[in-house]
């Protein structure tokens, strides 16, 4: 297909971002990112959690406005255009979770997006119907055209979303995590589908599945903490030293102490406090975790590592009771099953949660946060807020501050302190190092180690591999919804490269 650009200068990029930023107060979700996307490009954006990938997609689609910078599309400055105007100009998009009008049929969903129909039309234009069926054919869903979208299988819903996007005859297609929740076979199909798209559609995709990215994209951009790290071909990216560092996390400023927790464990053969058996969980039909079996022992730190989107947060939330567990799942705390208990009862039974994103209570002061949890009277161990504050001297000076007045590190310490006031036997830590400076991460590592030394069982979900290696006694690697490996940290510390392939871009990317 020949695609003469309507713009006189055919060499100018279809989409150009110039120093685009989006900040929330002091936090920069996207920080001065510049990017060129030429017609027909297959461009991928990757980066760890919180890198700002989805925010960047929102900025291009118009659902968020940039706080600084310019966005040029096909020769226009579209920074102030509302989303529907950008859509009419040819920018189509998909969402992380299937965004479909579920009661309508697949064909109706696609018809919504076919342009050039009159609002008052009573009979659907035959040309529009033909266009809709063409889009359905492109993704291979013609057989299900008359089924309500809600009744399609999850993988078909994702494909239907792409059909809806294609029906708008886009020039730029934004795909947000298209492979999330798909099985390996479905990802292969999706890869073929994206590769078979006509050359006049440029594709910008964000995805965690680096195999797919390597197979689909001709250019890859890496973001980290909202900043642009590098842009290049998938091969360049794979070998780029900065990228590995971004994915594996900042190395703590202090090297792993020789006398760290692993060798000085006071409870080497402690019975498991938390036993997880055959745990499964998922979102809207997509399996995120299957057959997870895990033991966490008193006085030991177990780290769960894995790529973004591997299911670490779902695992932590399912154990805490914030996310429903699938049938057959079994969670035992002190030998008692807690799978049937609600979130609060699990907290009372001794589970402490430091969730991803901290989830502090907006409007409550530090003191109020620490006054809320009360240890169960039947529990042996008791802690006072004062004892907890002794652990965090920085917080003790800010007892009347609210979360939005605290720095990121202080917020994390508050989330940790809030969990510790209830004197938990098992501490669930979800990405505690996210967004923290290296010095704060070292402090955090010291606190986690000292907690374990006092007999608390710690389950740490972490993307920062050096931190995990630093504090954990054993490491479980989560990959494709299961635990791929579970090994003692001591075996890994000598040759950490064993894990790198599971956590970054695999050396054997499918070509």
């Amino acid at each position: 297909m020949t695609t003469p650009s309507p713009h006189p200068n055919t060499n100018s990029p279809l989409l150009r971002l110039e120093g685009v930023s989006r900040s929330y107060g002091v936090r920069h979700a996207v920080d001065e990112v510049s990017l060129d996307l030429h017609a027909g490009a297959r461009h991928a954006i990757i980066g760890p959690n919180g890198a700002g990938k989805s925010t960047l997609l929102h900025l291009i689609a118009g659902t968020l406005r940039p706080t600084a910078g310019r966005i040029r599309y096909a020769g226009h400055d579209i920074r102030r255009w509302p989303p529907h105007r950008r859509a009419r100009a040819g920018i189509a998009r998909t969402w992380q979770h299937p965004a479909l009008t579920r009661p309508l049929t697949a064909a109706q969903n696609v018809l919504l997006a076919v342009p050039g129909q009159r609002l008052a039309a009573l009979r659907t234009d035959p040309r529009a119907v033909a266009a809709a069926y063409q889009a359905l054919t492109q993704v291979g869903l013609t057989d299900h055209a008359d089924l309500p979208a809600a009744r399609l299988a999850y993988g078909d819903q994702r494909r239907l979303e792409i059909a809806v996007a294609l029906a708008g005859r886009p020039r730029l297609l934004l795909l947000d995590e298209p492979s999330a929740g798909l099985t390996t076979g479905e990802i292969t199909g999706l890869t073929q589908l994206i590769r078979a798209l006509p050359a006049d559609i440029s594709v910008l995709l964000v995805d965690h599945n680096l195999d797919m990215v390597a197979a689909v994209a001709d250019t890859v951009t890496v973001l980290h903490h909202g900043r642009h790290i590098t842009t290049g071909t998938p091969t360049d990216i794979r070998d780029h030293p900065d990228v590995r560092r971004v994915y594996l996390g900042a190395t703590p400023t202090s090297p792993p102490a020789p006398t760290n927790a692993a060798s000085a464990c006071p409870h080497p053969t402690g019975a498991p406090v938390l036993r997880v058996r055959d745990l499964r969980a998922g979102y809207t039909g997509a399996a995120v975790l299957t057959d997870i079996t895990l033991d966490v022992r008193a006085g030991r730190v177990t780290a769960v590592v894995g790529r973004n989107g591997a299911g670490k947060t779902t695992l932590i939330n399912t154990i805490a009771g914030l996310h429903p567990a699938g049938p057959g799942s079994d969670i035992h705390l002190h030998g008692r099953s807690v799978a049937g208990l609600d979130t609060r009862a699990r907290a009372r039974a001794g589970l402490g949660l430091v969730p991803q994103g901290r989830r502090l209570f907006a409007g409550l002061t530090v003191d109020e946060h620490l006054a809320l949890p009360t240890p169960h009277p039947t529990r042996a161990r008791t802690v006072t807020p004062r004892q907890v504050l002794d652990l965090f001297p920085a917080l003790a000076e800010r007892r009347h501050h609210r979360p939005d007045q605290l720095s990121g590190g202080e917020q994390q310490m508050l989330a940790l302190a809030r969990a510790l006031v209830a004197a938990p036997d098992v501490l669930l830590l979800d990405e505690p190092s996210e967004g923290l400076a290296p010095a704060v991460i070292s402090h955090l590592a010291a606190i986690i180690t000292s907690l374990a030394n006092r007999g608390t069982a710690v389950l740490l979900a972490e993307q920062n591999l050096p931190l995990a290696l630093h504090v954990a006694h054993d490491i479980a690697v989560l990959d494709r919804a299961r635990i791929a490996r579970h090994v003692a940290t001591a075996d890994l510390r000598d040759c950490p490269d064993q894990l790198h392939d599971l956590l970054t871009i695999p050396a054997t990317a499918t070509a």
């Binding site: 925010t55 609060r344 209570f361 409550l364 006054a371 969990a419």
Partner: protein, 292 residues
């Protein structure tokens, strides 16, 4: 004299506005917490006020005994009513429209019973004789009861403000408003907090009915009037916010008194404009697609 300069027809009306505003705050504070904590938009909230006002009318004996009796009964009726509503909406969790229908049904049935028992005509409630007179403020006469009401309502408002914003109980409530899931994850009883807020809101509304009966008296339709104004207070002040409710209630109180005196008929537009402004401002702060 400074006092004489201050006291004129408008300041007297503004004083009435303070009385209305504080009355609305005591009622709407309960509703805003009910919506914020339990997610229930209770259409029966005005009914609870009306129940209190009829209680005051029924038990009024011209002295403080009747008022005290009515207040004691108000606490019992409010607690029962709140608990009843909590039980009624419990099976309808996550079905907000059905909650509205159910509470509306309760409000209808109650309104019909009220007019059967107490009659269809408006009843005027006289305050206890000891405070029935009026005092002179400059050149104007002002009812003593209304001044006393302002004092009592202000004390109630301060107490409520302290309870929600300063005490541990209030911290628990605000934590549930902010993040119910996380509140459960640190061991708070979110279910009991929900029921408690409905009970507390019920007690407040019925008590406000007893105290406010001489200001906004019991009549068929008063329940809807009270519901509308407390709802506007909730929308303008922001759901679940006590501070916002206090400011919005005082504003609505002034609009309904001073505003009517200054520009008759404009009150409806001022209130609609206030809702529009509040919704527009709040829409800016909660943009879709904000990363978690």
């Amino acid at each position: 004299m400074g006092l004489d300069g201050l006291v004129n027809a408008y300041t007297i009306t503004a004083l009435d506005g303070v009385a209305h505003g504080l009355l609305l705050f005591v009622i709407a504070a309960g509703l805003t917490l009910i919506v914020g904590v339990a997610g229930v938009f209770s259409m029966a909230h005005g009914t609870l006020y009306l129940a209190g006002a009829y209680l005051a009318w029924h038990l009024a004996d011209g002295g403080f005994t009747g008022l005290t009796l009515a207040l004691a009964a108000a606490v019992a009726v409010g607690a029962l009513g709140g608990a009843g509503l909590a039980a009624a909406v419990r099976p309808l969790t996550d079905r907000p429209l059905d909650q509205v229908l159910a509470t509306l049904g309760v409000a209808y049935i109650a309104a019909d019973q009220f007019s059967t028992v107490f009659g269809a005509e408006p009843r005027s409630v006289d305050p206890p004789q000891a405070v029935a007179g009026s005092v002179s403020l400059g050149a104007f006469q002002y009812p003593v009861y209304r001044l006393g009401f302002i004092a009592v309502a202000a004390v109630l408002a301060v107490a409520l403000f302290w309870l929600v914003e300063r005490s541990r109980t209030g911290a628990v409530v605000r934590a549930v408003v902010a993040d119910a899931g996380m509140a459960a994850a640190i061991g708070l009883r979110t279910g009991i907090v929900r029921t408690g807020v409905l009970v507390g809101g019920g007690v407040l509304a019925v008590t406000a009915g007893v105290l406010g009966a001489p200001v906004i008296g019991p009549a068929p339709g008063a329940d809807t009037t009270i519901l509308v104004y407390s709802l506007i207070v909730c929308v303008v002040g922001g759901l679940g916010s006590i501070r916002g409710a206090l400011l919005a209630a005082l504003g609505v109180g002034q609009t309904l008194t001073l505003g009517v005196a200054l520009a008759p008929g404009a009150a409806a537009f001022v209130l609609a404009a206030a809702m529009l402004a509040a919704l527009t401002l709040r829409q800016r702060t909660t943009l879709p697609g904000r990363p978690a």
